[in-house]
């Protein structure tokens, strides 16, 4: 098949380009020959177009029902919707490795497409590290998970998959494919992995710059890498956050357990780099502002990158059994080797350049922004450590004591809850502390009002009947931190109004426009606060009940009465491997009239095992009514009904968080002009100095 050959050739060429780019950049960097570095850059730029062709060929193979291609046979079939034939590109292991490599190549392309304007010393080494990582994924795609393997019928009648025809074999084309895993046919599962992957591959860039600063080895470059990668890091963080949020929403919408986060090993593997990346996003500010924590930032970005590789390995290899993982595969070995290489190489580099990374300043006070960032990092890392330990606990316990023990939902919540509460408290207080030195008196004065209001909130929550100590503490801390954050924004606005006699609205928009990073950050904090409200609500006050009901019988929970109206079942025309059971119910809220729930709750059962359980939802800002239809047996339809208090604040907070990140990431006109002006000024000063 010509499609397969074109795809394969493109993949091989991309691999060759990447290998050449790494070699040429390393040579050019070592011998200080810019021509070689330029050549490496051009080679790096060919990877994205080549991989685009490779990906298109896989899609084309799916669209043309080319079941001779093993990958198409595994993830597609004739009945499959056209859209799903396209998204099947990342629906199976081999395709998703290629897809991952392609996304990485896009980031690399965006990074190198413009003439290098930063520190010249960094360029070759950024190419070496970023394309080196790219090379690893291309290596996997070519030698361990090649999506262009074809099916062959051997002389002995055995069917095998191989890129190159085995001796005496002839091509074999099954009449139809196996079809995409039904779990991956939901829109949430279609866009959630690419977003997470974008977050993952995005983290390669700050890592590449960090390592390049060490390899390039000049004191100037070690500060430059932080500035150069600020936006890249935020972009990666944005995609990771979006991926995590959408994953949560998907779980809530289709898995039917009424929750959004199950501490599944694969979820955790995506959360781990997010946690350390969040610590990094904060601690880089100390390095930029005060020239401190350089070693620490290097360690953080290395850790984040390793966790990213580990996370990718977890999702792609299924070393730990979980909802998302593909079958155990031959990828475990290469991933382990690459992670080892990254860890060892990075450690050697950090130790080698230890002296370049020495702090330029000292911490002056406990009551300073720097100290708050230290605490912030400490808490993010203890949370990450707890999640890491929990995720890999089954492996440890199997290895050490021979018995598999799993850390589950409740344990995680209990271990991590208090740490998150402390973090939220710090999130409120931290930004109030001045750089270098502040005082507890100033802090107390600035947060007095917020503390009083928070106490009132706690009293009100108590009066509403919430008695759980954890929830009261949680709501109190959230109110306190939230108010401080809002007050801080307000104080900025007021200060500007005083100074420039602006209207409140102009003051606010100018404030944000002038320093998107800071105020974008505050908006993110507000998002976290809103999400916290939802998390406490659902974690502490979820109610549920389940019953088998005859036709016309009802079930009551909270203010809601639900009448069972019978069920129907059918097999979707386009998806004959599914059975859909629909339960019809009427709902009355607080004694009001009964209305049919539309869309109704239903259940999908997949032929190959497993299924989905999407709820019928009645969603308000106060709570979600979450009705599940479990099936009908012997004239009894089973309904499970949950009330999830405040859950919508999680999604609202999520949107606010994303908006805040966009604010902080988006290149700001004012800032760009200011930078240009500053650069011009420094040039003039420089020339005058000469």
């Amino acid at each position: 098949m010509i499609i397969v050959d074109i795809g394969l050739i493109a993949l091989v060429l991309a691999f060759a380009s990447a290998a050449y780019a790494v070699g040429a950049a390393a040579y050019g960097g070592r011998t200080k020959r810019p021509a070689w570095v330029a050549s490496a850059r051009y080679a790096a730029l060919t990877i994205a177009p080549l991989l685009t062709i490779a990906c298109l060929m896989v899609i084309l193979s799916n669209l043309t029902d080319n079941y001779n291609l093993e990958y198409t046979y595994r993830v597609s079939n004739r009945d499959q919707l056209t859209m799903l034939k396209i998204t099947s590109l990342w629906g199976g292991q081999h395709g998703s490795v290629l897809f991952f490599a392609w996304l990485m190549s896009l980031f690399v392309f965006a990074l190198f497409v413009k003439e290098w304007r930063g520190n010249r010393d960094l360029e070759p080494w950024v190419i070496v590290v970023s394309i080196g990582t790219q090379l690893f994924f291309l290596f996997l795609s070519l030698f361990f998970a090649n999506p262009f393997a074809r099916l062959w019928l051997g002389g002995d009648g055995e069917v095998s998959a191989a890129v190159i025809a085995p001796a005496g074999a002839r091509p074999f084309t099954p009449s139809d494919g196996q079809g995409l895993n039904p779990l991956l046919r939901h829109w949430g599962m279609i866009i959630h992995p690419p977003l997470l992957y974008l977050g993952f591959v995005g983290l390669t860039i700050p890592y590449a710059f960090g390592m390049a600063a060490l390899l390039g080895g000049s004191t100037a470059s070690d500060a430059a890498w932080i500035k150069a990668t600020r936006r890249w890091t935020l972009l990666a963080w944005l995609f990771l956050s979006l991926g995590l949020l959408l994953g949560g929403r998907w779980a809530y919408d289709v898995l039917g357990w009424g929750g959004y986060w199950g501490w599944d090993p694969v979820e955790n593997s995506a959360l781990l780099p997010w946690l350390t990346a969040t610590a990094f996003v904060h601690s880089v500010m100390i390095q930029e502002k005060r020239g401190m924590f350089k070693i620490w930032n290097m360690i953080l970005i290395v850790t984040t990158f390793c966790l990213m590789i580990l996370g990718t390995a977890m999702t792609r290899t299924g070393a730990i059994s979980s909802v998302h993982a593909f079958a155990r595969s031959s990828l475990v070995g290469p991933f382990a080797a690459f992670t080892g290489l990254v860890l060892l190489g990075s450690a050697v580099l950090v130790i080698w350049r230890w002296n370049y990374l020495r702090s330029e300043n000292r911490l002056e006070s406990w009551w300073s922004r720097e100290a708050a960032f230290v605490l912030n990092n400490f808490l993010f890392l203890t949370i990450a450590f707890t999640v890491f330990l929990g995720t890999y606990y089954s492996l440890f316990s199997e290895l050490l004591v021979g018995e598999v023990k799993m850390v589950r939902l409740d344990d995680y919540n209990r271990l991590i809850g208090p740490q998150v509460v402390a973090l939220v408290l710090l999130m409120g207080v931290g930004p109030l502390l001045a750089w270098r030195k502040s005082s507890p008196q100033t802090l107390a004065r600035m947060t007095r009002q917020a503390a009083l209001v928070a106490l009132v909130v706690v009293a009100a929550v108590f009066a509403l009947g919430f008695r759980d100590l954890g929830a009261l503490a949680g709501f109190g801390v959230i109110a306190y931190a939230g108010l401080i954050t809002l007050e801080e924004i307000y104080r900025g606005v007021r200060a500007r109004m005083k100074l420039s006699a602006e209207s409140p609205f102009t003051a606010l928009s100018r404030l944000i426009a002038r320093n998107r990073r800071r105020y974008g950050g505050y908006v993110v904090h507000v998002g976290v606060i809103l999400m916290g409200v939802g998390v406490i609500g659902t974690m502490m006050y979820q109610q549920q009940t389940q019953r088998g009901l005859r036709l016309g019988e009802s079930i009551t929970i909270g203010d809601y009465t639900i009448i069972y109206q019978g069920s129907e079942q059918y097999v979707p025309e386009k998806e004959p491997d599914k059975l859909v059971l629909v339960g019809h119910v009427l709902l009355s809220v607080a004694g009001g009239p009964f209305q049919e729930m539309n869309p109704p709750p239903y259940r999908e059962i997949f032929q190959q095992g497993g299924g989905l359980l999407p709820p019928a939802l009645r969603s308000t800002l106060a709570e979600d009514l979450y009705i599940l239809f479990m099936g009908e047996e012997g004239g009894f339809g089973t309904l499970k009904v949950l009330i999830n208090p405040l859950v919508n604040w999680i999604w609202i907070g999520g949107v606010v968080l994303i908006v805040g990140t966009l604010l902080a990431t988006w290149p700001s006109g004012a800032a760009a002009t200011a930078t240009v002006r500053a650069r011009r000024r420094s040039l003039v000063v420089g020339e005058a100095g000469r």
Partner: protein, 162 residues
């Protein structure tokens, strides 16, 4: 792999039903436990084969069998703890939802690391603070809220884009 998991869970379920019917003659249920009662116990258990899903949520035949068994034990008057223990005895600790209490290392480990890490961070800050005080040359930036000084600080920070 998924299919194998499916078969194994079915097998485990059947095996369990077989073993129960062989070992324990079932007395007539005194009272029919409600689905909520069953779910209360099921929430404390995880099937050893199914992926990371609590028993009350899981819909595989094996898990449905487990729930039927829980209902039977409840009808026999067994307590929640006794029922959980029966499943743990039979299938190991991996089926337990809450291992924190049985596995001190799990929380003592991170606690020790957190304490050590915290102590280290404190030590670091303290050392840095002492040296910092000695090296301090210029007055610290402080400001009262609403005061002009604060407004200047905001303005200065804005200019530095930090």
């Amino acid at each position: 792999m998924r299919r194998v998991g499916w078969l194994v869970s079915l097998f485990v379920g059947l095996l369990m039903v077989a073993s129960v019917s062989a070992q324990e003659p079932t007395p007539a249920p005194a009272r029919r436990p409600s689905a909520d009662d069953v779910n209360r116990v099921a929430r404390q258990l995880y099937c050893p084969v199914c992926e990371n899903e609590p028993l009350d949520v899981c819909q595989t035949p094996a898990c449905v069998q487990w729930k039927a068994q829980i209902a039977q034990y409840l009808a026999e008057g067994k307590s929640d703890e006794e029922i959980v223990q029966i499943f743990v005895d039979r299938f190991g600790l991996r089926v337990k939802a809450n291992v924190l209490a049985d596995t001190p290392i799990l929380w003592i480990g991170p606690l020790v690391v957190a304490i050590l890490g915290g102590a280290f961070a404190l030590m670091l800050i303290r050392r840095m603070t002492r040296q910092g005080r000695a090296a301090q040359t210029s007055p610290p930036a402080t400001g009262t809220p609403g005061g002009d000084e604060y407004a200047m600080r905001v303005e200065r920070d804005l200019n530095q884009n930090l």
